[in-house]
Structure formats: C-alpha cells, structure tokens
C-alpha cells in the first residue's frame, strides 16, 4: 500500500482554479485519461497513418489504388473478426491461443456439412442455413468448454488454450483427412468475401450510418443536458460526426469506382465484408459500453475480487467471455473459408492466431486485462492488413514480413506495458 501514501496531497485540490470552457474541460479529462495509462487508439491510428504514408511513398502506383484498398478489407477481415472475439478474453485478463484453430474447426464443420462430396464424418449436402449455425454453435460449445475448464478447474487459460490449439488441429485433420482440400461451392458463403455491394446500396448504407451516428451522439448530449450533467461541447459532436462522414464518405467513393482491369467484367462497390464487420463492431461495442454485462467484464478484468464482492458471478462472466471469443472465431473461420473458397487442415492455422492477438493488442486492448474495445480489433486488424499488404507490394519475403509484424506487435505490447506502469505510478 506504500504507493498510495506517496501521492501528494495537492492532487486532492484539482478542483481549484478558474472556471474553464467545456471544450477545455473535455480535453483536460482526455489528457488525464491518457496520463493514467488509457491511451486508447492513439498508437494504432498513428501506426495506420505512418504505415500508409510509408507504403504510399515507396509504392505510389500500387498501394493507395482502388483495387488495393478493396483488397485490404478482404485480406484483413478474418483476422479482424477473430481479434474482435479475442478482445473479450483480453478484457478479463485471459488469452485464447486456440482461437485460430477454433476458426478452422468451425469452418471445417460448416464446409463438410455443405459439401456435395460424400465420405466425410459429417452428413453432407446441407444448406448454408444448417452449415452456418452449426459452425457458430460449434464455436460456442468450444468456448464454453474452455471457459469452464479455465474458471472451474482453474487451469491458466494459456495452458488450456495451448492444449486446445493442438487438439483442434488434430480434430480438423481427422475431420478433413490428411492432405484434403474441401471446396466450397455455396454462393451464399462465397459472396461474403468475393462480391461487392451495388454502389447505390453502398451510398444508402453510408447515409444510414452517418445519420445514425449523429443521432446517437445528439441524443446522448440531450439526455445528459436534461439530467443536468455536463456533456461534450457541440463543437466536438460536430467534429466527430464530420470526421466520420468525411472518412467514410471518401472510402465509399473510392470503393464505388471501377477497379476492374478487365473491361468485360465490372468490379466496383463496397466489399460485402465491410458492412458485416461494421455491424459486428456496433453490436459488440454496444454490449461492452452500454450493458451491465459489459461493465462486469471490465470489472472482472480490472479487479476480480472487487467484482466478486460486488455480487457479480465472476465464473459466469469469465466463461461467457470465452464463449463470445470462440463464437467470433467461428465467424472469422467462415470468412477465412469464404476467402479461400475452401478449407484445409491449415485453415485458421499458421500465423492467423498471432496476427489476431497482435491486431487486438496493436489496437489498444491490454494483455494485462481490464482494457479493450471492439474498435481496437478493427484498427489493429487494419494495421496488420496494411503491413501484410504493403510489404507484399514491396516484394519483401514472407520472412521479412513476419519479422516486421513481430516487431510491431512487440512495440504495441511495450506501449501497453509502459502506459500501464505509468498509470500505476502516476497521480
């Protein structure tokens, strides 16, 4: 408890001082949060800008092109979605090393149920209406099992999920058979990663998103003002909505341009995967920020004993985090399969898991628990996708890419650790 006594008494008089404008107050609060170790998405956004600038300078005619920007989304989607689930286990201070092969397992279950080819362990020839739910249920069951072992038997999640990593790899091999590649022919699944929205639909969706975002922000300000609480200044609300409108608008505009090199076959519009990621981002952000369950997740990650004393069923919360993680891994697996048009024994394998954990951490989720947002997965996923894509364009080898991704991940974890130490030592 020694650290507490060192805090100087002057900190207790922060309220003194001249009255200031709401904007200054807001900025000061933000700075206080940054100082207390909550740097949020600053490093990820900075990384995005810097990396984009570097690749744009090095490969001006290839990186920021219409086709390549569309590629970034489809390339990064699987990792981003798996990372979104990992955020939940990171928040409660755990890890899921099996998420990659959970994705592969769920994708295999789906594909085998839907394949026309007989001869596998599962009934074949089912519609996607069976295959997709089966994959999702498989994911949730896997998550429930891992969560139960971690919380009830109290084996560290690192070990449990490492065991699951090996075991699921084996299960996939047993399901698919050695060396088999099972193709996906169902158009509904293939559409996820291989088609784009009609440009008009893209713009309609864009308008809906901007209007909804503005509405949510204005409603929040109204409610707070009515309750007599200080709220963010109108200028800031305007800046937020404006920034979203400009960034998203530019993106939709760019993606809606013709990007096909083959004049016979038109290719334009927002990739279907973009609204899919957007919808999941909204859903999970809502769960984390606006529900008691979300707050309990953060509480369990911040101080498990405090959560227990507050009457929160800590074990239930911990199991549920693993269920959500594996559920999102299943979604990510379906996307990976859709992109590859097939599954094989390495779907969700190789560096998918490490990239997903990296995406979550680079985005701002803490490996020490207690911090993380669904948005972190998207920002971090974008950083990973840009590194992958940009270094590919530069013609660098897979080895160089891996080394560089490793360094970025280490840097992100370092920022996390340092900001945390600062939070513990500061004020």
């Amino acid at each position: 408890m020694g650290t507490l006594t060192t805090a100087s008494a002057s900190d207790d008089r922060t309220e003194a001082g001249p009255p200031s404008s709401p904007l200054a107050d807001y900025l000061r609060d933000y700075w206080a949060r940054v100082r207390s170790g909550d740097i949020g998405s600053l490093p990820a956004v900075a990384g995005l800008v810097v990396l984009s600038a570097i690749f744009e300078i090095l490969k001006p005619d290839l990186f920021f092109t219409k086709a390549n920007v569309a590629n970034l989304f489809t390339q990064g989607a699987g990792v981003t979605l798996i990372a979104m689930g990992l955020v939940f286990v990171l928040i409660i201070g755990e890890i899921d090393l099996s998420a990659g092969f959970t994705a592969g397992l769920c994708a295999s279950v789906m594909t085998l149920l839907m394949t026309k080819q007989p001869g596998f362990m599962l009934p074949h020839g089912q519609s996607w209406l069976i295959g997709v739910p089966a994959a999702l249920v498989t994911g949730m069951a896997v998550g429930a099992l891992i969560g139960w072992i971690v919380s009830k038997i109290a084996i560290p999640s690192f070990v449990v999920t490492l065991a699951a990593y090996l075991a699921f790899q084996g299960v996939i091999l047993m399901l698919l058979g050695e060396g088999n590649i099972v193709r996906i022919s169902d158009p509904n699944i293939l559409r996820l990663e291989n088609t784009s929205l009609d440009p008009t639909v893209g713009w309609i969706l864009y308008l809906l998103v901007v209007v909804a975002y503005a509405g949510v922000r204005i409603l929040k300000v109204r409610r707070r003002t009515r309750s007599g609480l200080s709220s963010e200044p109108a200028l800031l609300t305007g800046v937020r909505v404006g920034a979203l409108a400009v960034l998203l608008g530019g993106l939709v505009f760019m993606l809606n341009m013709e990007r096909s090199l083959n004049p016979a076959r038109s290719l334009k519009g927002v990739p279907v995967i973009v609204p899919v990621i957007g919808a999941l981002l909204v859903i999970w952000s809502f769960v984390l920020n606006r529900t008691a369950y979300g707050r309990h997740l953060y509480a369990v990650g911040g101080n498990r004993e405090a959560a227990r004393r507050a009457g929160i069923d800590v074990n239930k919360v911990r199991i549920s985090a693993f269920v959500i993680c594996s559920l999102m891994a299943a979604v990510g697996g379906i996307i990976l399969a859709s992109r590859a048009n097939s599954v094989d024994s390495n779907t969700g394998g190789s560096d998918i898991l490490l990239k997903s954990v990296g995406a979550a951490v680079i985005g701002g989720a803490s490996l020490f628990g207690g911090r993380g947002r669904a948005l972190d997965a998207v920002l971090g996923g974008a950083v990973i996708a840009i590194i992958d894509n940009g270094m590919g364009l530069l013609g660098l080898s897979a080895g160089t890419k891996s080394v560089f991704t490793g360094i970025v991940l280490l840097a992100a974890a370092g920022v996390d650790a340092l900001s945390r130490r600062r939070g513990a030592a500061g004020t």
Binding site: L4, A7, D12, D29, R35, R290, A299, T427
Partner: protein, 256 residues
C-alpha cells in the same frame, strides 16, 4: 446519563464464533448507535475482523443474538447484510482501477433502462451522494479510479457504501495507507457520515484517529469484549490498557 436511552441501530449479544477448534469470538457484546462513530479497537488477533465479517454476513455467527433496530435478525450472507443496510468498506477498498468513479459506485447494482445502462441516472446519483458528503476533492465522477490518490479512493469507497441508503457503515482501517493531509480529510468524512445519521463503525489501530472522531470505543481482547465506553470518559492510556490487557483498574468490563 445512561447511554441506552433509545434502541441502538445494531446490537450484538453473546456472539460466539469458532473456526474448527479455534474459538475466535467468545460472548462478544457490541453496539452501534445511529449518528455516532463507534470505534472498534483491539490488538492483532483480537477478533475485530471476524466480528466485522459476522456483521457483514461473510461468516455467519455460531450463536448469539444480532438485533437490528431492536428486532432480532440473522445475517447469513453479504446480500442479506446489504439488504438490511449494512455496508462494509474493506481495507483493500475493492475498487476497479479501470472503471470510472460512477462505474465503481454502481458495480453490480447498475441502474438500467430496459437492457441498457442508465448512465445519466447513475452519474446524477453519484454526484448527489458525493455532494451530500461534502466531497469536493473529486473533480469529475467520470475519472477512472486509476487516476485517483489514496484519499480520493477511500472517499469513493465510502461514497459507494452510503449510496444505497445504508444505515450501518463499517470502515476497516480507512486511514492505514494515507498520509497526514489525506487522513484528516477521510476522518472528516467519517465524522460527516455519522452526522447524517448513520451508525458508523470504525476499525482502527491508530489511537489519534479513534480519539479524533469516535463517540464510543469498543475494545476487544482475545475474542471477548473488554469494554465499550464513551470516548469522552476515557484517556488514551486507559484504552491502550484495555487493548493490551483486557482491563483497566478503573474500567474493568463494565459498560458505560
């Protein structure tokens, strides 16, 4: 003047508690009155923590009577204690660093509109509670607890305890980790709690704190009540004697 002119908020009589062969509490008598700070003192191992955990429902008593506002009650678990209006502020505070002040104060008892958190209502209530305690040391209730000083954390933990219309607030060594200025602030807050009509039980090793804020002192000695006396009627050394030997020539075990 007899102290028991009105019914005490909380009174314990003949409380026994053992853990296996270890008899931790033997025939303990204790009471706390509304509007008063009752200091609970005793050497390490005297049974202070066990007594508090009995009141808080963490360890149900083996035998003995607990009366709450005159009516006999049983407290089997922490929820029952909370339902009666008994809140404990533990020494380690049990705050989540990553949540803001509002989040901590309402943890596990969030206000909701349907399935959605009612942040506005919670923030309002948190502000009201803090201002009712005349807390001016906290600038924004939206600050994360990680950014607070030790004294501010203690303030938040105490405000959390009084948020729920509690009647009895038990503070376990609230100043143990604080510096001089912050100790004074927290003791002021403890005094104000009692002045708003709560029965406050203050566990402390620090005689200066005890004499600074308490109205009564209950001393435990090896699991039994050594004495419960009015603070104004005893001296510093008499209390130390009660703690270390279980009796004082002038006081013995007679109650005030």
């Amino acid at each position: 003047m007899s102290a028991v002119s009105t019914e005490p908020t909380l009174s314990l009589n003949g409380i026994h508690k053992s853990f296996g062969p270890v008899h931790v509490l033997r025939d303990v008598t204790f009471q706390a009155n509304a509007g008063e700070v009752t200091a609970l003192v005793g050497d390490n191992g005297a049974g202070k923590s066990t007594l508090v955990k009995c009141i808080g429902g963490i360890h149900p008593v083996d035998s003995g009577e607990i009366r709450y506002n005159g009516a006999p009650v049983t407290i089997g678990n922490p929820r029952e204690a909370a339902a009666l209006g008994i809140e404990i502020v533990y020494q380690d505070l049990a705050l989540c660093d990553n949540l803001d002040i509002v989040g901590n104060m309402f943890l596990g008892r969030e206000a909701k509109r349907g399935a959605v958190l009612d942040d506005e209502q919670m923030e309002q209530m948190a502000q009201q509670t803090l201002s009712s305690l005349s807390v001016r040391t906290v600038r924004s209730v939206r600050q994360p607890v990680a950014s607070l000083s030790g004294g501010q954390r203690q303030t938040v933990a105490i405000a959390k305890a009084v948020l729920w219309n509690s009647k009895v607030v038990i503070l376990d060594e609230p100043t143990a980790a604080l510096g001089v200025a912050q100790t004074a602030q927290v003791l002021e807050l403890v005094r104000r709690l009692a002045d708003t009509g709560l029965a406050v039980i203050l566990i402390s090793h620090n005689m200066n704190d005890v004499f600074a804020v308490s109205d009564r002192i209950a001393a435990l000695y090896l699991g039994t009540t050594a004495a419960q006396v009015k603070t104004s009627e005893v001296t510093h050394s008499q209390v130390v004697e009660l703690i270390t030997t279980g009796g004082s020539d002038s006081l013995g075990r007679k109650d005030s």
